[in-house]
Amino acid sequence: MECLNCGAPVLENGHCSQCGMNYKLLAKAYNTSNYYYNLGLDRASVRDLTGAIDALNLALKYNKQNINARNLLGLIYYEMGETVLGLTQWVISSNYLPENNMAERYIKEVQSDPLKLEEANQLAKQFNQALAHAKQGTKDLAFIQLKRILSNYPHFVKGYLLLALLYLDNGNPDKAKKALKRVLRIDKNNTLAVKYLSEMGVAPKDIIGMKESSHRIDVDSAYSDEDQYKSDLETFVEKGLENIDNPDLTVGSYQEINHSKFNLIYVAVGLVLGVLVFWLLVLPTKLNSANQKNRQQELAYSEEISKKNVTISDLEGQVEDLNKQIQAQEEEKKKEKNSQKDSKEAFQIIKNNIPNTTYETLCSEAATAISGNDYQKAIDLCNVALQIQEGEEAYYYLGKAYLGNQDEENAKSAFISLKDNYPESDHLDEIKSYLSE
């Protein structure tokens, strides 16, 4: 014998050689698990889904690795609209037995269609929202949300139960009954549905009758039944509250669903309204703003132009001033030139009219200075005399003064000038010796 837990051989004392488990106890547990699985299967086959869930959960408590029980549990959750719960069970199952497991096929089937998974997720989110609305007291919103959910997912038991509860709270036991009947069609022994019905005063006989009607659904006719069921549901969802006595509370939500039929008209009207709003409200404001911008730009440009005009006129004024200044300066220059000419002429006249006595005086003073050994004074006097008038006396005394001052070069040039200008001068004999040197 092999241990049911670890597969090691079982000893004669009935305990596993490896894990030490009592074989009998384990076998009993596994048998019990299989028993509950069989019970769950039976219940599931007659659509007693709640009973099946209870039995399968017990089966898993005896043996959590009971693959069949776990797979069936996932399938039942899936059937009741709880796709994520179903997936959870299948994933755990495939983890215990990765090969030859039906759970793998179920998972692949769900995962192969991403839309299906997304729809399941949306269903869960929308139901949670509806539940939150119901808890917060915004029951109208919960109604709308639940009707939307149930029109897309007619197997969602939880949704019907909540809807029935809302109807009961709303004082509509007939609508609640209809919703609960749907629950019993899916899940024959749903405890909550039975509880609500009995609380509503429905006789046990009628409840059993409802269960019987659900018992008639077989696998072969499931598809057509589903269609009928779906159409019934749509009628239920769309027209359920039309005949209601108190229209204030719930008629509004049904009208909203009826309005959905006219979606295209709404879209067209919305588009027309949008265009009109754009034409009448948005466009004029945009035009105004564009005009204002243009005006502002015009103002800015005109300001700039006026500023530039002012600067141009200033610059023109400056040019005129400068031209005037240039003219004035030219006139002044002309005047200066004229005055210079005049002064030169006057100097020439003065120079010509200066009496020779001045020259002679300067020469005699130069001779006196030489005799007094004041050669520099003599040089200055002779230069002045030469500027007034060239003469042999002036050159002679200049040369002598340079000699006295021991400046032989200048003395020689003065004597040469004397010789060149006055070749018949009486002083030539005296200066010959210097010239020959």
């Binding site: 030490g20 106890l25 384990l26 043996n63 959590k64 994520v84 719960l85 139960l161 009961l168 509503m200």
Partner: protein
């Protein structure tokens, strides 16, 4: 008579896809084998002491 608030409180939110991973990891249901293993460990622990 059914009390709406009480009954609504009993409803639990549906599992979303993003919560599936957590649900799988937290699904740590003990079965008979786990209970027996715990008992054996306790018995073995006492013996070694």
């Amino acid at each position: 008579m059914i009390n709406f608030d009480e009954e609504v409180r009993k409803f639990k939110p549906c599992l979303e896809v993003s919560q599936a991973e957590d649900a799988i990891y937290k699904n740590d249901v003990k079965d008979i084998t786990d209970v027996l293993e715990e008992m054996l460990q306790q018995v073995n622990g006492k013996k070694t002491k």
